[in-house]
């Protein structure tokens, strides 16, 4: 459960005295600041907040947050976090992982933490490369990525983190990028969601995979390349200065999405879809939209809460303990017993 009482903090309260050791210019700095800016706005209490990570550049994150933190082992953060939440469901858990940690070595745990719906925020920093091990292709690297392990270009097909999450049964999927001013809004929505909230954050690795997201993240022309989704709002994009002149509509024939022109702001005439964050099929179409012909879907793509795993565990524990006494002496003597008499040293029944 996320802290019900608003707690007063400032960004500074969430900074540790540890020297931040990411490369200068790394997108991780922006994400760190976004999180440190968001937590005071959410009224989070540092003593009830736990950042849990695996291994990789992103997983150094807990060291820089003045809260409880656990830097675990490669890929296993979801499993550790599940244990933390089952032991103390009141803790507000943030999971920090990357494309290698969360989708390659830890893909199995990621799938299960999502399908179980353990209440936590899962931030997957996707830089499409292994940074800390010096630049090998990752499971999200695009085909043809040249790296020390793929000198003439990678040839395995990349995974789409949001598709993976949706397929695994995630009930919240959000997407943003490191320097986006909207990232805190996505984080806030994720925090408000009861259950596992999956957030893919595109993150610029300036050393090994520089500017790989520039095609949609660059400020210039961003309006045409970014579709920021809001529940109950039409899916419009384009240059905001001149008014949104494009929208996403349903191509009924092909059961797909299509880009339509919006004339004079009349999106209804253009049949532009209104975003319904509780619609899983729509979420699937938005996640799978190919970038290029389509803009990149960002913001809260899917948000349809379901009962959490830890609530079910607590309930099951209470149900199976109901009416039973925790009497160790009785437990030890359970089943068919017999007594050996002191006088004879022989059983009496």
């Amino acid at each position: 459960m996320n802290a019900p009482v608003k707690f007063e903090t400032t960004l500074k309260d969430w900074e540790t005295d540890q020297e931040v050791r990411w490369c200068p210019g790394c997108g991780d700095y922006a994400i760190l600041k976004a999180v440190q800016r968001t937590l005071p706005q959410l009224g989070c209490d540092p003593k009830n907040t736990v950042f849990i990570s695996g291994i990789g550049c992103s997983s150094r994150f807990p060291y820089y947050m003045e809260s409880y933190g656990f830097h675990t082992i490669h890929g296993r953060a979801p499993a550790v976090a599940t244990g933390v939440k089952l032991a103390n469901p009141d803790l507000d858990v943030w999971l920090v992982t990357g494309d290698g940690d969360g989708l390659s070595i830890g893909g199995n745990h990621m799938m299960h933490v999502l399908r179980r719906n353990v209440n936590m925020q899962i931030m997957l920093f996707n830089n499409e490369i292994y940074g800390l091990t010096k630049g090998q292709a990752s499971p999200t690297s695009r085909e043809g990525t040249k790296s020390p392990s793929t000198p003439i270009g990678s040839y395995d097909r990349p995974a789409n983190p949001c598709s993976f999450a949706l397929g695994a049964g995630a009930r919240f999927i959000g997407r943003g990028f490191d320097v986006s001013k909207n990232l805190p809004d996505v984080l806030k929505a994720a925090h408000g969601h009861q259950g596992a909230a999956f957030i893919e954050i595109f993150q610029n690795c300036i050393v090994y995979n520089k500017d790989v997201f520039e095609d949609f993240a660059a400020p210039k022309g961003a309006g045409d390349r970014q579709l920021w989704l809001e529940h109950d709002k039409p899916m419009l994009f384009g240059d905001p200065k001149t008014g949104f002149d494009k929208g996403i509509a349903l191509d009924r024939e092909n059961l797909a999405l299509k880009v339509v022109d919006v004339v004079d702001g009349d999106w209804e005439a253009a049949d532009v879809l209104v975003h319904d964050a509780t619609n899983r099929s729509l979420a699937h179409l938005l996640i799978e939209m190919p970038f290029g012909p389509f803009p990149m879907a960002l913001g809260v793509i899917y948000d349809d809460p379901a009962p959490t795993f830890e609530a079910a565990v607590v309930e099951e524990r209470a149900k199976s303990a109901a009416g039973k006494e925790a009497n160790l002496a009785k437990l030890l003597a359970k089943g068919q017993t017999w007594t050996v008499d002191a006088a004879e040293g022989h059983p009496t029944d």
């Binding site: 082992i73 089952l86 008499d341």
Partner: protein, 616 residues
């Protein structure tokens, strides 16, 4: 007191070994379990050995589908499930073929002729029926159609032949109960409760049980067998029950968590033969137990580490292959210095190995099997009842020293049953866990050690004690990331010394003298056969003693000196000599191996002959 079969047993045997063998679908484990209960209620000491195939339902009638249950019981102390059976019950040709070679010469074999069809004989690879040639000449034979008698007995209940034959095991149990003059009432009660929702099935089984019992009386009149009554064993006064190792470990973990005043979190993943612990604990939620069936072995231990971090007693359990997967996470628990109990129910290896057979071949894995210098206390159970105390001991060390602890058991202990004197929880020494509530210095020092070398346990949620831990090397006291050479040296030393400093009771001699010509030094489930073999050898006047080690790491402080008092040290173990190597390494003693890796426990005879060999 009468003899069981002519010339089978001595006039007044003080122990009898019975083996029930049949197809894996014949319910032999159930028969054995209920016979065990009746034996315990009759006041005999006992030990059992269930031996079943890895396949859930192997093809019917085949040699590899044979399931057996052996019980040794007597009016004296019983240490093992017995070497060779005095009585073999064979429910089909395959069961006869597989088990006959181990039957004691002159022993009694009871055979269901109803299953000796051509088809079943073929499956058991008998060219000629053993009932028709001299195959059984060495033994007393009681062969009759148990199948037909069962069908006859349950006829009034209107069951089809197939269902009726399912009661065959109860018919056989009835006969066995008659043979040893046992009460039928507890078995009837058990059947009534087991088939509460199907009273006609309960009645049919009870009818079969009674029919088998009645057949015994008739057979006695006819001649081949006689009833015998085994007097109760002399035992310490008190309340008793039977217990398997898996039950004892589960109860010990519950008791350990209570003594530490902590809720318990158990993360497990299904694996033979460890799953029984998960099953037991899943039914004990009222004791503050949370069980979590994880997606894999790694997640099971990682979730347990997460729970320990959040302030509960984390426990995980597996068998060798699963323990291998948990290795990296054990290192994390060592590095972050969090309490954790890891139960390893050992089985034959390597790889998948022998899932349902026993071995002690994970000793190196327990002591050394992690990357880096990763010291971890290791406690080993020697018998089902002993597993209870060992589990408490593991919880004590884990919480008092802030360390993961490996608790070793094996497939034999997990499944075997023995009478257990129910302990009084009032007599247990509590060891309440303490959490740091406020800063332990001008600044918080998460790695500041106490007199035992343990760091403080700090629960997330505690005001003002926010801090970060992880698998990267920690700075002394502050726990910040620190790769400096001197710091790694200091922290490696601190981790090693903490574990070496775990308080372990001095080693006692189980049987015999504190010095002499020969010591058999064992650990784990070899306890029973070693003790009996040493007992027998000493009765013959041989100078041999038995030392059984519970604390594998750190070893008891006096063990080295104790071992140096014997001319010869023999280390029987069900592996290729792992503990022998540890003893040589730690104490520079001439420990000699005595190894066995057949998936079967040592027999007493094997050990007696090794003792005689070592002393000749």
């Amino acid at each position: 007191m009468a003899t069981l079969a002519k010339d089978t047993l001595t006039e007044t045997p003080d122990a009898v070994v019975v083996r029930f063998a049949g197809d894996s679908g014949d319910g032999m484990q159930l028969t054995g379990g209920q016979f065990t209960l009746s034996t315990a209620l009759a006041g005999n000491d006992l030990a059992t050995f269930p031996d079943f195939p890895a396949e859930i339902r192997a093809p019917q009638g085949t040699l590899f589908g044979v399931s057996a249950f052996q019980i040794n019981f007597g009016s004296r102390e019983i240490n093992t499930a017995g070497d060779a059976p005095d009585v073999l019950v064979a429910m089909n040709p395959a069961a006869l073929k597989v088990n006959l070679p181990s039957l004691k010469p002159g022993g009694l074999v009871i055979i269901d002729t109803g299953e000796f069809s051509k088809r079943n004989l073929d499956k058991a690879k008998y060219d000629v029926s053993p009932l028709e040639d001299d195959t059984l000449a060495k033994w007393d034979v009681l062969a009759f159609d148990i199948s037909a008698l069962t069908i006859e007995a349950v006829k009034p209940f209107g069951l089809g032949n197939k269902d009726a034959l399912r009661s065959k095991n109860m018919w056989t149990l009835g006969l066995a109960l008659w043979m040893f003059d046992r009460e039928r009432a507890p078995i009837e009660d058990w059947l009534k409760s087991k088939f509460k929702s199907k009273p006609e099935i309960a009645d049919a089984n009870i009818a079969a049980l009674n029919a088998g019992h009645a057949y015994g009386e008739t057979a006695e009149l006819a001649g081949p067998i006689q009833q015998m009554s085994m007097p109760a064993v002399e035992s310490a006064p008190g309340l008793y029950r039977t217990i398997t190792g898996a039950e004892a470990i589960s109860l010990g973990l519950v008791a350990g968590a209570q003594l530490a005043e902590l809720p318990m979190f158990f993360g497990g993943y299904p694996i033979t033969p460890a799953s029984a612990i998960l099953h037991h604990l899943a039914r004990l939620k009222e004791f503050g137990v949370t069980t979590f069936q994880a997606e894999d072995e790694i997640a099971a231990i990682c979730a347990a580490i997460g729970a320990s971090y959040a302030g509960q007693l984390g426990v995980t359990s597996s068998s060798g292959p699963g323990i291998a997967l948990k290795g990296e996470a054990m290192g994390l628990a060592i590095m972050t210095e969090l309490p954790l109990v890891i139960v390893n129910s050992q089985r034959g290896g390597p790889s998948t190995g022998l899932p349902t057979k026993t071995e002690q071949s994970d000793l190196y894995q327990a002591i050394y099997g992690r990357n880096g210098d990763a010291p971890m206390p290791v406690v080993s159970c020697s018998a089902p009842g002993d597993a209870f105390e060992c589990a408490i001991e593991a919880c004590r060390i884990a919480t008092q020293y802030m360390t993961p602890v490996m608790l070793l058991t094996d497939g034999y202990i997990a499944n075997a049953a023995e009478p257990w004197k129910v302990p009084d929880p009032e007599t247990f020494e509590p060891f309440p866990a303490k959490f740091l509530e406020e800063k332990n210095g001008e600044q918080l020092l998460p790695y500041k050690r106490d007199g035992k070398g343990a760091r403080p346990w700090i629960k997330p949620g505690t005001e003002g004690l926010m801090h970060r831990i992880g698998g990267i090397e920690k700075a002394v006291d502050t726990g910040h990331i620190d790769y400096a050479p001197d710091n790694h040296q200091a922290m490696t030393d601190a981790r090693v010394n903490k574990v070496l400093g775990v308080e372990v009771p001095d080693q006692e001699v189980t049987l015999g003298e504190t010095s002499g010509k020969l010591a058999l030094v064992g650990w784990g489930s070899t306890f029973g056969p070693i003790k009996r073999a040493v007992h027998n050898a000493r009765a013959k006047g041989l100078d041999v003693s038995h030392i059984h080690v519970r604390h594998i790491w750190p070893l008891p402080g006096n063990l080295g000196e104790l071992l140096k008092g014997y001319d010869t040290i023999l280390v029987p173990e069900m592996n290729t000599g792992q503990f022998k190597t540890v003893l040589r390494d730690q104490f520079l003693v001439n420990a000699q191996p005595l190894t066995k890796t057949s998936g079967q426990p040592f027999t007493i005879a094997e050990l007696e002959s090794a003792i005689e060999g070592a002393l000749s």
